[in-house]
């Protein structure tokens, strides 16, 4: 059976098709103001027997495609258990939200936490901070990685952090060090979220922010644990939805 999962996130839409437990196709695209149009393009030419949607746009999609939906939490739990059966903790840092999920090893999640309504600590926060420092998103992580020092950022609110960063630069603080400080603050925030569900091995880091080497570095250093990142950390939710469709 060919099962398709679609994860409609605020920034990116991801699609995965599995056939007999193997991923045969995965695609992604930036979301736009016209979510359904982006979905339609992504699905073009794909062959599938079942479809399951997840992500914040799941209901909108399901209304049009008359399909099942599952929450992102469930999708990540299922997807993570498939990729890494020994996984007990999932961390997902996406565009608008951050999730920490505890798994029981039998494919169920036992607890989950999400960031509250502000964007602090999410991918969006990093994007805005990169812009404030005039870096591209890619440079941002790489440059931060080069710094041996991290300037301490005290505000976690995006708006305040932005002006704090601007005034730090004006005071002559090193740009790389400020960049590192921002990464540090995101990791601190992430760890407190993880602590609320309990941090147990193995840990899988999913979502677009997992591409950021500096975040991964600091996270592993602070946790004193290795975190696993698969080849395509953005696909876990879509994969989970696809697997769920075969149940």
């Amino acid at each position: 059976m060919k099962s398709l999962g679609i994860d409609i996130g605020s920034r990116t839409i991801k699609v995965a098709v599995i056939n007999n437990g193997n991923v045969t196709i995965s695609r992604k695209s930036e979301n736009s103001f016209n979510t359904l149009e982006v979905c339609k393009k992504l699905l073009e030419g794909l062959d599938y027997d079942a479809i399951t949607s997840t992500g914040y746009g799941r209901h909108l999609f399901a209304e049009h495609y008359k399909c099942n939906t599952i929450s992102e939490i469930k999708a990540f739990a299922v997807g993570a258990a498939h990729i890494l059966p020994s996984c007990r903790t999932v961390l997902d840092i996406g565009g608008q939200d951050t999730k920490a999920i505890a798994l029981d090893g039998k494919g169920n999640f036992t607890k989950f936490e999400m960031n509250d309504k502000c964007a602090a600590g999410t991918g969006r926060f990093l994007e805005i901070m990169a812009m404030t420092l005039r870096y591209t998103l890619e440079e941002f992580g790489n440059e931060a990685l080069k710094s041996n020092t991290a300037t301490n950022i005290s505000s976690m609110c995006t708006v305040f952090a932005e002006s704090e960063v601007v005034s730090m630069l004006a005071k002559g603080n090193d740009r790389q060090s400020v960049a590192k400080g921002i990464h540090q603050s995101v990791v601190n925030r992430t760890i407190s979220l993880l602590n609320r569900v309990g941090i147990n091995n193995d840990i899988l880091f999913a979502g677009g922010v997992a591409y950021n080497k500096c975040i991964v570095n600091i996270l592993e250093e602070q946790l004193n644990k290795k975190v696993f990142i698969n080849d395509d950390p953005q696909i876990i939710g879509a994969l989970g939805a696809a697997i769920y469709g075969t149940y």
Partner: protein, 424 residues
């Protein structure tokens, strides 16, 4: 519907804003309540009450005032309605559940004040609440620090505020304080109404309120059934209207709904399929038109079976004993009943935890959603203990911290759905 603009103008409402509010609430009511399937027939009464909540009910209240009866506005279930009725007064709840006039309110309150307090100020400052405007006496009570300090400035904007002190511990001294405050309140009521509280009038008041609470308990118990015969939204609505309506008419209407629900249970009719995930809500009160969380839950294929809230069982459980031969003894009985309310402003508050566990069992709830208003210290602090203790007992808990805005609805929906997946 009649035109009440003249009455509203005479109460000093800001007609333009008020019209807008009525429109929003009416639209919200339509979307949230009238869209539900399989509603009990008896809910039509509540539809009517809600459509006339600023109309006919206010007119009744104005008529009562014209007869010399006093209107007492309250913010907390610790204010005994029995005493108000004993001087032939009318008791109305003033708690407000919408984000309105917050900017104005923030001239008096710090931004990190809970939405409930902010909207009490907002509704007054925006001149949109006929209940506030028709109250002869507004009772503030010293519960949380937020309310306690807020009343200091509220006094300046409402002009007829009476502050009642409340204990913080369930000790003998605490009980003595509650009694002293109720005696003082009784005197105040006698003074403004010019009526003496007698054994007879107080017994009558007790009877009316007992009947009202008994009807609510009856309704609550019918929700033990699976399939559940009434939605959590409709039950919450009854709990909210409890604070505004004519108590005797309200009691009769709730009992009529209960008769209908009993029939439904016999016939195995429910509002959601048998076996739907059952959720108990616990935490801060939800005042009209705060329906955000229940709406999300019940539109995610789960059903709310009970409310451990002041707009719910915490507010309505236990009756006042009416055997006594003097006013003082009756007041003692009232104190006994109210002293059991396990609000989070008390320390320690172990009983609330026991009540939640007991309710989970009785209502056969699959999980508990703890609803805490942002910046509400008492309930937020207690939520951590509730979560720890319940999870330890094998009861899944979801902590939701929110306010009156709608911005976080999408995120809450994700969390609620995931929680439902967890408990199904």
């Amino acid at each position: 519907m009649s035109d009440y603009h003249e009455m509203w103008a005479s109460l000093g409402l800001d007609l333009k804003t008020h019209d807008a509010v009525l429109e929003i609430v009416g639209k919200g009511y339509q979307d949230v309540f009238l869209s539900q399937k399989n509603r009990p027939e008896g809910m039509k009464y509540f539809d009517f009450v809600m459509s006339e909540v600023h109309g006919l009910r206010i007119k009744e209240i104005m008529d009562a005032k014209a007869e010399g009866r006093k209107v007492i506005g309250t913010f907390c279930v610790f204010v005994p309605e029995e005493l108000v009725l004993a001087v032939n007064g009318v008791c109305v709840g003033l708690c407000a559940g919408a984000e309105l006039g917050f900017e104005e309110a923030e001239k008096y309150l710090p931004r990190n004040t809970c939405s409930l307090i902010k909207s009490a100020f907002g509704f007054k400052l925006a001149k949109v609440c006929p209940y506030i405007e028709s109250s002869d006496l507004i009772v503030g009570e010293n519960t949380c620090d937020g309310k306690k300090k807020a009343y200091e400035s509220y006094k300046d904007i409402v002009g007829n505020l009476y502050v009642m002190d409340l204990p913080q511990m369930k000790s003998e001294a605490g009980k003595a304080l509650l009694k002293a405050e109720y005696v003082k309140f009784a005197q105040k009521l006698e003074e403004i109404s010019g009526k003496k509280i007698t054994v007879e009038s107080l017994k009558k008041g007790i009877e009316i309120v007992n009947n009202k609470r008994a009807a609510m308990s009856r309704l609550a118990k019918l929700r033990f059934a699976d399939p559940t015969p009434i939605s959590g939204l409709d039950a919450l609505l009854a709990n909210q209207v409890y604070f505004y309506d004519n108590p005797e008419r309200f009691t009769a209407s709730v009992n009529a709904i209960c008769d209908e629900l009993e029939k439904r249970i016999q016939d195995n009719i429910g509002v959601a399929p048998k076996g739907s995930p059952r959720i108990l809500i616990s935490g801060c009160p939800m005042a009209v038109p705060n329906w955000k969380i229940p709406f999300i839950i019940e539109n995610s294929n789960a059903i709310i079976v009970g409310e451990e809230m002041c707009t719910g069982e915490r507010g309505t459980r236990n009756l006042v004993k009416d055997q006594a031969s003097s006013v003082e003894e009756l007041i003692n009985n009232i104190v006994d009943r109210y002293f059991e309310i396990d609000c989070a402003i008390f320390t320690p508050n172990q009983n609330r935890l026991e009540h939640i566990k007991q309710m989970v069992k009785e209502y056969k709830a699959d999980g508990v959603l703890h609803y805490g208003l942002q910046f509400c210290q008492p309930y937020q602090m207690e939520s951590k203990v509730v979560e720890k203790e319940l999870e330890k007992a094998g009861i899944p808990v979801l902590l939701i911290e929110t306010d009156y805005s709608q911005e976080d609805a999408g995120q809450i929906k994700t969390r609620v759905e995931a929680f439902i997946e967890r408990i199904s």
